[in-house]
C-alpha cells in the first residue's frame, strides 16, 4: 500500500473508533440532564439513584472519548499536513472554538458530576449536569461545522501564500460556519447520538427486567428511554430526509452513488434491497426489491421527476467508490427502519401496559444496543466515502492532502501501535461497562429485589477504608 492508502486507513480506523464514544456520551449526557432535572425538581430518591447509575456508564465512555479525541486533533497535523495548511484558516477556527467554548465546559463540570456528589449542593449538581450536556452537544456542533465545510465549502476564497502554495481563506465567517450542509448534518447527527443513548439505557433496563432485577429505577428508566428512542427514531427519518435532500442539491454525485443511479432518467425507482452497481456502472443495481417511481416521487415530489445519475460527471475518476457508498447508505436506512419497528412495538406494548411482559421484545431491546451505533457508523461512511476522491469537495484531492515528510514505514508503525492500543481500549470499555451494569443501580433503601441473591451483588459505593476502593 502506498502512503496515501495507509493514511486513509489510519484516519478511517481512528475516526470510526472515536465516534462511538462521543455518540454514547452525548446520548447519555442528554439522559443525565433529564434525570438530574427531575431529581432536582422532585427531590425523589429514585432519580438520584438513576442519575448516579447513568453517570457511571458515562464516566467509562467519556475517558475513552477524550483520549481517542486527542488523536483526532493531532492527526490533521501529523498525517495531513498539506490539508492542514490548505484549510487551517477556516477549518481551524471551529476546532479552536470547540476547545474554548465546549470542551473545557464539559470536562470541567464532569469533575463535579463524577466526583462532587457529596461535596456540592443539589442545585449545583443539577447545573453541572446541564452544562456537561450543553458542552457535549456544543462540541458536536463545532466539529460538524468543520466536517460540513469539507463537504460543502462556502464563505472562502483561494489565495496563494508567500511560499507559492494555495490555501483557502475565510471571507465570510457565517457563510463558512453555516455552510449548506451544517444544519442538516448537525440535526441528523445529534439526533442519532440521542437515539444511541436512549437505546443504550433501554437495552440495559430490558436486561435487568429479563434477569428479574427490575426495580423502581429500571421501571422509570425503561419508559423514559422508550419514549426518547421512539421520538428519536422518528426524528432520524425527518432529519435524514432533510440531509439527503441537501446532499442531492450540493453533492449530486454522492447522492447518485448513494441511491445507485447510473443514468439520468425520469421516473426512477427507489431501491430498498439490491446488489449495488459496479464501479464503472457497466451493470446497474440488480436483483432487488424496489418501489417503482419511488425515488423520483420522494426526491422530486413527482413520480416522473428527473433524477441525475452518475453520468452527469463524465470523468469516472471523480466518482466515489459506488458500491461502498450505496451499501453503507442502505444499511444505515435498513437498520433505522428495523429500529423504528422495534420502537413502534415498544410504544404499543407500553400503551397496553405490557412493556415488561414480552420477553422476546425485551431481548430484542438488549440486542439492539449496538444497532444505532452501527447505523451511525454507516451514516458517516456514506458521508465520507461518498465525498471521495475529494478531501475538500471540489477543492482538494485526498492524495494532495497528505504529509510529504511522513513515509509509508512511519504510518505502518503508527497504524500497528494504534490497532493494538485501540483493541485494548475497546476491551476495557466493554469490561468497564459490563462491570457497572452487573452492579446495577442502587436499590431503594429497605427494598430487596425479587431476584436470586447473585443479582443484588456487592453493596455499591461503600468505601472500604483499608483500600479506599469505591465504584465510579
Amino acid at each position: 500500500m502506498d502512503v496515501v492508502q495507509l493514511d486513509r486507513l489510519q484516519f478511517a480506523l481512528t475516526i470510526s473508533f472515536h465516534f462511538v464514544f462521543p455518540a454514547v456520551t452525548i446520548g447519555l449526557a442528554m439522559l443525565i440532564a433529564i434525570v438530574e432535572t427531575l431529581r432536582w425538581w422532585t427531590k425523589r430518591d429514585v432519580y438520584d439513584r438513576l442519575s448516579v447509575f447513568i453517570t457511571k456508564l458515562f464516566a467509562v465512555t467519556f475517558v475513552i472519548g477524550v483520549v481517542s479525541g486527542i488523536v483526532m486533533e493531532f492527526q490533521f497535523g501529523t498525517n495531513w499536513s498539506r490539508f492542514s495548511g490548505f484549510v487551517g484558516d477556516i477549518f481551524g477556527v471551529p476546532l479552536a472554538a470547540e476547545g474554548i467554548s465546549a470542551f473545557f465546559l464539559e470536562s470541567a463540570f464532569v469533575g463535579i458530576v463524577l466526583f462532587g456528589r457529596n461535596r456540592v449542593g443539589s442545585t449545583l449538581r443539577w447545573i453541572a449536569g446541564l452544562l456537561v450536556f450543553g458542552g457535549t452537544t456544543l462540541s458536536a456542533f463545532w466539529i460538524l461545522v468543520a466536517n460540513s465545510w469539507m463537504q460543502t465549502p462556502a464563505g472562502f476564497k483561494i489565495v496563494t501564500d508567500s511560499s507559492g502554495a494555495q490555501k483557502a481563506q475565510m471571507t465570510d465567517f457565517f457563510q463558512a460556519m453555516f455552510n449548506p450542509s451544517t444544519l442538516p448534518r448537525f440535526f441528523h447527527t445529534v439526533t442519532a447520538c440521542y437515539v444511541v443513548g436512549a437505546f443504550f439505557l433501554m437495552g440495559v433496563c430490558a436486561w435487568y427486567v429479563l434477569r428479574g432485577r427490575g426495580s423502581d429505577v429500571t421501571s422509570f428508566a425503561l419508559r423514559l428511554s422508550v419514549a426518547i428512542a421512539f421520538l428519536g427514531a422518528g426524528g432520524m427519518f425527518a432529519t435524514g430526509d432533510l440531509q439527503t435532500r441537501e446532499v442531492q442539491a450540493n453533492q449530486p454525485i454522492k447522492f447518485a452513488a448513494m441511491e445507485g443511479v447510473c443514468q439520468t432518467a425520469n421516473g426512477v425507482p427507489l431501491d430498498l434491497i439490491a446488489i449495488p452497481p459496479s464501479q464503472n456502472c457497466s451493470t446497474g443495481t440488480g436483483l432487488g426489491i424496489s418501489i417503482p417511481y419511488g425515488l423520483s416521487a420522494m426526491s422530486d415530489l413527482n413520480p416522473n421527476g428527473q433524477i441525475k445519475g452518475l453520468d452527469q460527471q463524465p470523468d469516472q475518476s471523480l466518482w466515489p467508490p459506488v458500491a461502498e457508498t450505496f451499501l453503507s447508505f442502505h444499511l444505515m436506512v435498513g437498520l433505522g427502519a428495523m429500529m423504528m419497528l422495534l420502537m413502534l412495538l415498544g410504544v404499543f406494548f407500553w400503551w397496553r401496559h405490557e412493556l415488561e411482559k414480552h420477553r422476546w421484545w425485551l431481548w430484542l431491546a438488549v440486542i439492539a444496543i449496538p444497532a444505532p451505533i452501527i447505523a451511525t457508523e454507516f451514516g458517516w461512511m456514506t458521508a465520507e466515502v461518498g465525498r471521495q476522491p475529494w478531501i475538500v469537495q471540489g477543492l482538494m484531492m485526498v492524495s494532495a492532502g497528505t504529509s510529504p515528510s511522513v513515509s509509508a514505514t512511519d504510518v505502518t508503525i503508527s497504524l500497528i501501535g494504534i490497532v493494538l492500543l485501540y483493541a485494548l481500549l475497546f476491551f476495557l470499555w466493554i469490561y468497564g461497562l459490563t462491570r457497572e451494569i452487573r452492579r446495577g443501580p442502587e436499590l431503594a433503601p429497605g427494598l430487596h429485589a425479587s431476584a436470586p441473591p447473585v443479582a443484588v451483588g456487592p453493596p455499591e459505593d461503600q468505601v472500604t477504608p483499608a483500600t479506599g476502593k469505591a465504584g465510579r
Binding site: 487551517g88 481551524g92 477556527v93 470542551f103 463535579i112 515528510s405 469505591a470
Partner: protein, 337 residues
C-alpha cells in the same frame, strides 16, 4: 503589536496554562510509585487529581486547536515532522488516562500494579517527549524545501533537547510534589516534601546543562538575549525559584504551589522570548516558519481572538470555581476512584 504577535503570546499562554495544570497531574503520575507505597496511599494520590485532570488535558486540546487555526503551517510542520514522537506522545497520554480510570476497578494485586506502572511510565514519557520536542524547536530543525522535516526520531535526540526534556521533567516533579503536599497528609505528604527538594536540584542541574549545551550546540537560543530587557524573564524566573525554595523550607504549602506554577510561567516566557518571532526556526533561516509567514488571515485571527478573549476568562473562572469546590485535603467519600 501585530495580530500575529498577539496570537503568538495567546498560544504561549494557553500552552503555559497546560504546562502548569497538566504539569502537576503528570508530575503526580511520575512520582506516585515513589511517594505512595501501598494501595490506600495510591488511591489517595489518584483521587487528588481525579476531579481535575480531564479538564487539565483540555488545555492541550484547545492549544492544539488554536495553533491549527492561527498558525496552520507551524501546526502542520511540527506535527508531521515529529511524526513518530507525536505518536508516542499520544500513546503515553492514552496509557496514563486509562491507568487512572481502570486501576480502581479490580482489587487483584497484578491488575493494580500494572496500571500503577502504566500511570508512571505514561506520565514520565509524556513530559520527556514534550520537553524534547520543545528543545528541538528552540534549537532549530533542518527543514526541507517542501516544508517537511525528515530527521526522524533519532534526529530529535540531541543533548540540548534532552536537557530541555529533563528540565521539563524537573518542573513536572516540582509541580506534582507541591500539589501532593497541598492535597495529602501523613507519609505521602512527607515523601512529597522530599521529592520537591529533589526536583529543585534536578531543575537547577538541567537549567545549567541547557544553558551550556545551548551555548555550544544551539546558539540561536541566545539570539534574542542581546537586549537587557529580554533578560528580565530568566532573571525573574530565578527570583521566583528562590522564593519557591524559601516557601518550601517554611512549609508554606499554598505559596509553594503558587511559586512553582509561576516558575513554569517564567520558564515558558523565557522559551517564548528565545523563539520569537519564529514558531519553528529552521537551520536554513530562509525556511523558518515564523509568525509572519505562517499566520492565518486577519479575518480568522480577529474572530478567534474574540472567541478567546470572551471564552478564556469564563473558562478560567469556572475552572477556579471547581478547584475551589474541591479544595482541602483529599476526602475518600464514595464518589471517586
Amino acid at each position: 503589536m501585530s495580530l500575529a504577535t498577539v496570537w503568538f503570546v495567546f498560544i504561549g499562554l494557553m500552552l503555559t496554562g497546560y504546562a502548569i495544570l497538566d504539569g502537576f497531574d503528570l508530575g503526580v503520575g511520575a512520582l506516585h510509585l515513589f511517594v505512595a507505597r501501598n494501595d490506600g496511599e495510591r488511591t489517595q494520590v489518584l483521587n487528588s487529581i481525579g476531579p481535575v485532570w480531564d479538564g487539565n488535558e483540555v488545555w492541550l486540546i484547545a492549544s492544539g486547536g488554536a495553533l491549527f487555526a492561527a498558525f496552520p503551517h507551524a501546526y502542520a510542520t511540527v506535527f508531521s515532522g515529529f511524526y513518530l514522537a507525536m505518536v508516542m506522545l499520544l500513546g503515553a497520554l492514552i496509557v496514563r488516562a486509562i491507568s487512572i480510570e481502570f486501576r480502581g476497578k479490580e482489587t487483584a494485586r497484578i491488575w493494580r500494579a500494572g496500571w500503577d506502572l502504566g500511570f508512571a511510565v505514561g506520565s514520565i514519557a509524556a513530559v520527556l517527549l514534550f520537553g524534547i520536542a520543545l528543545g528541538n524547536v528552540l534549537r532549530g530543525i533542518p527543514i526541507d524545501p517542501d516544508g517537511g522535516y525528515r530527521g526522524g526520531l533519532v534526529g530529535l535526540l540531541n543533548p540540548f533537547a534532552i536537557s530541555i526534556g529533563v528540565l521539563a521533567l524537573g518542573l513536572a516533579l516540582l509541580q506534582g510534589s507541591a500539589w501532593l503536599v497541598l492535597k495529602t497528609e501523613g507519609p505521602v505528604q512527607d515523601r512529597a516534601r522530599w521529592t520537591g527538594g529533589f526536583a529543585l536540584f534536578l531543575i537547577l542541574a538541567a537549567w545549567i546543562a541547557a544553558s551550556g549545551l545551548g551555548w555550544s550546540d544551539a546558539r540561536r537560543v541566545f539570539d534574542n538575549f542581546g537586549s537587557l530587557l529580554a533578560w528580565a524573564a530568566p532573571v525573574l524566573t530565578a527570583a521566583v525559584m528562590v522564593l519557591m525554595v524559601m516557601a518550601w523550607r517554611a512549609r508554606q504549602d499554598g505559596r509553594a504551589f503558587l511559586f512553582s506554577s509561576l516558575a513554569v510561567l517564567g520558564m515558558a516566557a523565557t522559551a517564548g522570548l528565545a523563539l520569537y518571532p519564529n514558531l519553528v526556526p529552521a537551520v536554513d533561516v530562509s525556511r523558518s516558519v515564523t509568525i509572519d509567514n505562517a499566520h492565518s488571515s486577519d479575518t480568522a485571527l480577529t474572530l478567534l481572538l474574540m472567541v478567546g478573549l470572551i471564552g478564556m476568562p469564563i473558562v478560567i473562572g469556572y475552572t477556579a470555581f471547581i478547584y475551589w469546590k474541591f479544595k482541602g485535603k483529599v476526602r475518600l467519600d464514595g464518589a471517586g476512584y
